[in-house]
Chain length 381, copies 2
């Protein structure tokens, strides 16, 4: 992280901005590939679709999980072969599947009959994953029932896939982003195993389990290291699937890039609603908010760590809000954060581990604010 | 609205897209200026910053409430005079105030001492509004304590404004967007009156009350007409401020443009998690979601009306979700909406009254999706 701090110290960049260090991305990838041995890594491009990140991870040997034709084109345009891509979104337009097929994509996810039929019509003979709906208790980014289907339906769909001329290769799951509860992993894997066995009874031997993402980045609360986390996940996987010759995929997004980025933001205003300096609710407004960078602070889900220059100054609680005229553009109110007492407009704050889900999420021009700009540090260029 | 439907029928536009009819905007403005007699109307540009809308409203005589230098430039670049603008965001960077001042902006809002000092340093002699923190019960877009200060503090700040060489001209408030509870208006106006009197006791006679926005557009629930709503608000205002010669401003955003727009979206997928056609939870995924157009459906706050071609088909409940791989990209789940039973991928849906807070809110490239495109119908061009 020191390289990013130095870069910010030496360049007077207009805020808000995100600075990403490719060395950290490389190290994260290396750690991950050493920890998840013999596991194919697909970078979830949606976490940060910056071209330098895609290039860097490609050089490290990564494959790519893509969500749309836009992401597919961005990856392929860099000369990355189509067989390194997995079209992991279970919600695809018919013509997007057709386009992807023409571009050489051979691997598709689905979780419903209609999607399966669309894939069969537009990407014949392709490999397909069925996404299971698993419990996500413990994930810090809100969970939902949006993706995946239930076990017995997955069995029916895999048979249907074969009938439709597709190649059912595996089951995918997503345990929820920033998943901190390892017991949730265990339950999910047991559920996958059960489903795998049910499918095998019907005569289909799947080859791959795509474990998805969920690996953590360093926000407010302590987390397991990449190695500790990966060891637990892989020990579970090897144990639960011990008597099979199943291959594993993972799709880290956040875990590869969040810790490689720092957002610099400027304090626009500090205020007290009643004018009493020592009332408990100090408001601090910064130039980066829910609509231009910190979308994942919505509902106070992701709690970033903050850094500032004058470490000697005492801190006190602050409600943190964004720059827009929108009343919901507030990051932390229920649980205020500690910020220096003497903070005033014009001061800078740094938001650590903010390299994931910050830039492409930003609104295009809400309130007349430009999207957050990214700067890349890449020693090897 | 028929002109928009015709336009959509006759042009096979790529979805998702928003079509806006300037005739409806003109009519809304006319209705509003007839209802809010002798009231200066400032269009809240953030609701939809499309250039044609700004031009159209300028031709109708509107002033403009702007939130940033970006919005200021957009309005001024159309040749609209700076005195027609109010810089209504209470959170402004020091250099943004300086820029606005250089560009000729004379009217600024504030709600804290620090902001007041910034305005005094960078926009000397300007007119200033103090924004009061009022109760917003009944507003459909979530309320917060983000903006405004309490009454007694407003008094202190107005005195301070004078001391700093500024011209304290009025009090502003915002009753909450899509405010459906008229009692809330009454309480807020009484609170403003109380504050006005306290300030007068200190020797400062304010000239203007900026009533802000809150006027409604036609979403799922029935609303009062522009005339009915305006009559209630203005009767209250004239009653509560009867013995004063106060002038009123309003800042409608949503109320001028929401009903003038229709989004067309395509169904990408319909599915059932367990494969049972008659299970209660049918999921319908469309190509427009929280991150690319329907941000205000967040928390199911704004409930849009939907329209479709085959009116004969029976309807049944559907959970409505967006196209992205994000598990929070779900519009209506707690309270599903009624959609045709036979809906399938490729079918079109029209989202009525979706001309406000849909385009500029959209994310820049999340999941590789392009922001929603706007088409303008303007008979007079």
């Amino acid at each position: 992280m020191q390289a990013i701090h130095n870069y910010l110290d030496n360049n007077n960049l207009q805020t808000p901005c995100l600075v990403m260090d490719m060395d950290i991305v490389r190290n994260k990838y290396k750690e991950m590939s050493q920890t998840y041995k013999n596991v194919k890594i697909f970078y979830a491009v949606k976490a940060n679709p910056e071209i330098e990140i895609i290039k860097t991870l490609h050089e490290m040997g990564s494959c790519f999980d893509v969500a749309s034709i836009g992401e597919i084109d961005r990856v392929l345009d860099l000369g990355i072969p189509a067989e390194k891509l997995s079209y992991g979104n279970t919600i695809k337009k018919e013509n997007e599947i057709a386009q992807a097929y023409k571009k050489g994509i051979k691997l598709y996810a689905f979780d419903s009959l209609e999607e399966l039929e669309k894939i069969a019509r537009n990407a014949p003979n392709s490999d397909v994953f069925c996404r299971l709906l698993v419990n996500c208790n413990g994930a810090q980014w809100p969970l939902s029932r949006k993706f995946g289907c239930e076990s017995h339906y997955a069995v029916d769909l895999m048979l249907k896939a074969k009938e439709l001329g597709l190649n059912p290769v595996g089951i995918s799951l997503h345990i929820g982003s920033q998943q901190t509860n390892m017991q949730t992993w265990k339950e999910a894997m047991k559920y996958v195993r059960l489903t795998l066995d049910l499918i095998k009874e019907k005569g289909i031997s799947l080859k791959i389990i795509n474990l998805g993402g969920g690996m953590c980045s360093q926000y407010e609360n302590p987390i397991l290291s990449t190695q500790e986390y990966g060891k637990i996940v892989m020990d579970m996987a090897h144990n639960i699937f011990a008597d099979t010759d199943i291959e594993f995929f993972i799709e880290p997004g956040r875990a590869l890039v969040a810790d490689a980025g720092i957002i610099e933001t400027e304090v626009i205003l500090t205020s007290y609603k009643t004018g009493q300096i020592h009332e408990p609710v100090r408001w601090v407004y910064i130039d980066c908010g829910i609509l231009n960078g910190l979308f994942e602070a919505l509902g106070e889900a992701i709690r970033y760590r903050f850094d500032w220059e004058n470490k000697e100054c005492e801190t006190e609680p602050a409600i943190l809000a964004g720059p827009s005229c929108d009343s919901m553009d507030i990051m932390y109110e229920k649980n205020p954060i500690q910020l220096p007492k003497n903070l005033k407009s014009g001061d800078k704050l740094r938001i650590l581990s903010s390299g994931a889900y910050t830039t492409s999420y930003a609104s295009i021009w809400f309130n007349g604010f430009e999207p957050i700009k990214t700067y890349i540090i890449n020693k090897y260029i």
